[in-house]
C-alpha cells in the first residue's frame, strides 16, 4: 500500500517533508488525545461498572438481610442507612418520617460515618419548606449537587443544611401506596459533588427499601397483634366449662378448647387435624352427627340445637346440649362447623330424680291411704264401741304420722330408733318417763324399716297402756337394744304384771307385730305373756341383700 503523503518530487520533499512532519505530529497528537479520551472513557466505564456492581451487591445484600422474614423494623432501617452511606460514599444518611399529622418530618434514623448513629431533634415542617416538599412529592429522587444554589434545597439552608455543613444532598422520597410518608437523605459534606445517574437510581432504591421495611414493620406489628388476639380468644374459650370446637368439611378438628381436650383426655395438638368421628364409639350416633354437620356445611340448615349423650372416659354417660352453626374458615376458603356443647348431665339426672320422686310420692300416698283403710277396718273389728274405736284408730294414725314426720326430717334417709320410741311414747306418758327405761346405742333405722317399726312399737305401747305395765302404778318397761351383724336386737320387757289373766287375747296388734317383723322386715318377733309381764324380742335386719331403695 502506498502512502499518499510520500508521493511528489524530491525538491519538493524538503519543504514538503517538514509540512508532513507537522501534519504527522498533529496526527499523532490527535491519536494520542483520542487514545487518552478513549482510555478515560474506558476507565470511566470501568469505574461505572464497578460502582454498579457494588450497588447491585448492596441491594442484593439488603434484600436478603433487611427484608428477611421477621426482621425488626428498626434493625432493617439501620442496615439500610449504613449500607447506603458506604455505597454512595456520603458522610451522613438519615431516614425521616412524617408524624401522625402528615405535616412534620422527624429523623428516626441518623447515621454518621464518622460518629455512628446519632439522634436529631430537628423537626422539618412541610409548610415552612414548600418547594422542597413539592419536589419530594413529584420526583423519584432529588439530586442537589449544590444545596446553596438548588432552588429546592435553599429553603433548608438556614435551619438544617448549613448547621450540619452539608454541601450536596441526594434525597429519595419514601412512599407507601403512592403516598409520601418520609424521605431518606444522603448528605455530603465537603467539596460539592455531582450525583451520577447511577447514584440517583441507587438512592431511589434506598427509598423503596425504607418503604418496604416500614411495610414489613407494620406487617410484623399486625402479626403480633393477631397472635395476641389469638391468645386472648384462646384464654376466653379455654376458661369456658362448655365444649367449643370447629370442624372442617371432613369433620376434622380445626379448633378445640381445653374443656373438650380434658373431656376426651386427648392433648390439643393430637386432637387438631383428627376426625371428631374417632371419638364417637356409637356408629349410629356418629352417622347422625355426620349428617348434621353436612347439613350445616351445605347450609341447608343454619343452626342445629339438640341434646346428645356421650360416654366419657370413665364410662359414665353424660348429656350435652349441642349447638352447631356454619362459620367461615379463617382463610375464608369455605364453611366449617362451629359447635358449642354444654354438659347438662346434672340437669338430666335431676329431672329423672324429680320424676322418680313424683312416682314415689304417688306410690306412698296411695300406700298410706290403703294402710289407713285397712287400719280403720281392723281397728273396727277389734273395738267394742265407737269411743274405743276412735281412741285406738287415732293412736294408730298418730303412730303413722310420727313415723312420717321423723323420716321427712332426714329427707327419707332414715330415723333414729331412740327418737322413734320417744316420739311414740310421749303422747301417752308425757315428759314423765320414769316408767320407761331406754338403753341402747344410736341406731339409724333405714327408711324401709322405720314406718313399720313405728307401727310395731305403737302396738306395744298401746298394749302396755291398756293391759300391761304402763296401766299399773308400779309398772315399768325396759327397752334395751343392740346391733349385731347389721341386725337390730330389741327387747321390750314389761315388769309389774303378776296377773296372767289380765293378758289380752292375741289381737290385731300382736299379729301386726309378728307378721310385720317376719314378712315385711325379714326378721322375727317373739312375744311371750308370762309374769312379770309381756316380753317382746325383735330381731330386725337393718340391711337386706340388694336392699331396694325406696
Amino acid at each position: 500500500m502506498r502512502d499518499p503523503g510520500n508521493s511528489g518530487h524530491p525538491d519538493q520533499s524538503g519543504h514538503g517533508q517538514r509540512g508532513s512532519i507537522e501534519a504527522l505530529q498533529e496526527h499523532v497528537d490527535a491519536l494520542e488525545h483520542q487514545s487518552k479520551t478513549t482510555k478515560r472513557a474506558h476507565q470511566e466505564a470501568m469505574r461505572r461498572e464497578r460502582q454498579l456492581r457494588t450497588h447491585n451487591a448492596v441491594l442484593a445484600q439488603l434484600s436478603m438481610n433487611a427484608l428477611r422474614e421477621g426482621c425488626d423494623e428498626h434493625v432493617a432501617r439501620r442496615e439500610i442507612v449504613t449500607a447506603a452511606a458506604d455505597a454512595l460514599n456520603v458522610s451522613r444518611v438519615g431516614i425521616w418520617l412524617f408524624g401522625d399529622d402528615g405535616q412534620t418530618l422527624r429523623a428516626v434514623e441518623l447515621f454518621d460515618r464518622q460518629g455512628g448513629f446519632a439522634r436529631c431533634q430537628t423537626v422539618i415542617r412541610a409548610d415552612r419548606y414548600p418547594r422542597y416538599f413539592e419536589a419530594l412529592r413529584e420526583n423519584r429522587t432529588l439530586p442537589a449537587h449544590d444545596v446553596h444554589r438548588d432552588s429546592r434545597t435553599k429553603e433548608l439552608l438556614h435551619d438544617y443544611l448549613e448547621p450540619c455543613g452539608i454541601t450536596s444532598m441526594l434525597d429519595a422520597p419514601v412512599r407507601i401506596g403512592g403516598k409520601l410518608v418520609g424521605v431518606i437523605c444522603h448528605e455530603h459534606i465537603g467539596p460539592q459533588r455531582e450525583w451520577t445517574l447511577d447514584e440517583q437510581t441507587f438512592a431511589g432504591s434506598m427509598g423503596d427499601f425504607v418503604s418496604l421495611s416500614l411495610q414489613m414493620g407494620k406487617r410484623n406489628e399486625m402479626e403480633a397483634a393477631i397472635k395476641r388476639q389469638r391468645e386472648y380468644l384462646r384464654q376466653i374459650i379455654d376458661i369456658s366449662p362448655n365444649l367449643v370446637f370447629v370442624l372442617d368439611e371432613e369433620t376434622r378438628f380445626v379448633l378445640a378448647n381445653k374443656a373438650l381436650c380434658d373431656l376426651v383426655s386427648v392433648p390439643h395438638q393430637e386432637l387438631i387435624g383428627n376426625s371428631a368421628m374417632n371419638l364417637i364409639k356409637d356408629q349410629e350416633q356418629a352417622r347422625r352427627l355426620r349428617k348434621m354437620d353436612e347439613a350445616i356445611l351445605r347450609q341447608s340448615q343454619l343452626s342445629i340445637d339438640c341434646e346428645e349423650s356421650f360416654t366419657d372416659r370413665d364410662g359414665k354417660q353424660r348429656w350435652f346440649h349441642l349447638i352447631k352453626r356454619p362459620i367461615t374458615s379463617v382463610d375464608g376458603s369455605g364453611k366449617q362447623v362451629l359447635g358449642v356443647a354444654s354438659d347438662v348431665t346434672e340437669r338430666k339426672l335431676y329431672q329423672e330424680h324429680l320424676a322418680s320422686m313424683v312416682r314415689e310420692l304417688d306410690h306412698r300416698v296411695k300406700n298410706n291411704l290403703f294402710a289407713v283403710m285397712i287400719m280403720a277396718e281392723h281397728t273396727a273389728m277389734g273395738s267394742n264401741d265407737i269411743d274405743e274405736y276412735l281412741h285406738a284408730f287415732n293412736g294408730r294414725m298418730r303412730s303413722m304420722a310420727i313415723g312420717h314426720e321423723i323420716l321427712a326430717k332426714t329427707n327419707w334417709q332414715g330415723a333414729m330408733l331412740v327418737e322413734v320410741i320417744n316420739s311414740l311414747i310421749r303422747p301417752y306418758v308425757g315428759e314423765n318417763l320414769r316408767h320407761v327405761t331406754l338403753d341402747g346405742p344410736d341406731v339409724m333405722l333405714p327408711a324401709r324399716v322405720a314406718p313399720a317399726m313405728c307401727m310395731m312399737i305403737h302396738e306395744l305401747i298401746t298394749n302396755a297402756m291398756q293391759h300391761g305395765a304402763l296401766s299399773l302404778e308400779e309398772g315399768r318397761v325396759d327397752v334395751l337394744w343392740k346391733v349385731e351383724d347389721q341386725t337390730l336386737h330389741m327387747n321390750w320387757i314389761e315388769h309389774g304384771t303378776q296377773d296372767v289373766a289380765q293378758f289380752p287375747q292375741r289381737g290385731f296388734g300382736m299379729e301386726l307385730i309378728e307378721r310385720t317383723a317376719a314378712h315385711q322386715l325379714r326378721g322375727d318377733a317373739q312375744l311371750s305373756f308370762e309374769p312379770p309381764g309381756l316380753r317382746c324380742e325383735l330381731n330386725i335386719p337393718l340391711k337386706l341383700p340388694a336392699d331396694r331403695h325406696e
Partner: protein, 133 residues
C-alpha cells in the same frame, strides 16, 4: 262389710285356693280378709319369691294375687312359675305406672292399690273362670 257380689260370682269364688304374695303386712291382711269374705281359701301369704315358689310346689293353687314389688326384688319369677303351670294370676301394685313390668309379662292383669273389694272380686272371678276351664 257387705259386698255386691252376685250369686254366680260367689259360686265361682267358693273354695278357690288363692295364693297371696305380698310382703306388707297391712296389704296382705286386707287381701286375706277380703278373699276369705268372698269364700276363697287363702294360701300364704308369702312375702318372698322363695316362700311363694315353695307354696306353688307344695300346695294346690287355683289362682294367685301377686304384689309386683317385694322388698327386695319383684314377684316376676313367681309369675313365670305360675304361667308355666297354667295357673292364672293378677298383679297388684301401688304404682300407677305399669311400665315397671318386663316385656314378657306385659299384658298381664293388673290391679292398683288400694283395691276395692268389688274390683278384687271381679278380678279373682276372672281368674277363677280361667282356672276352671
Amino acid at each position: 262389710m257387705r259386698m255386691a257380689i252376685n250369686a254366680q260370682l260367689k259360686d265361682k269364688l267358693k273354695d278357690l285356693r288363692v295364693l297371696v304374695v305380698e310382703d306388707e303386712f297391712l296389704a296382705a291382711k286386707s287381701l286375706e280378709t277380703s278373699l276369705r269374705k268372698m269364700g276363697c281359701e287363702v294360701v300364704g301369704p308369702a312375702s318372698t319369691v322363695d316362700e311363694a315358689l315353695a307354696f306353688i310346689k307344695s300346695r294346690t293353687i287355683d289362682a294367685a294375687i301377686l304384689d309386683i314389688n317385694l322388698s327386695p326384688g319383684t314377684s316376676e319369677p313367681v309369675a313365670r312359675a305360675l304361667r308355666y303351670r297354667n295357673c292364672p294370676f293378677v298383679f297388684i301394685t301401688g304404682y300407677s305406672n305399669i311400665s315397671v313390668l318386663p316385656d314378657d309379662l306385659r299384658g298381664c292383669l293388673i290391679l292398683t292399690k288400694p283395691t276395692d273389694p268389688v274390683s278384687l272380686a271381679a278380678a279373682v272371678g276372672q281368674l277363677a273362670e280361667h282356672a276352671r276351664t
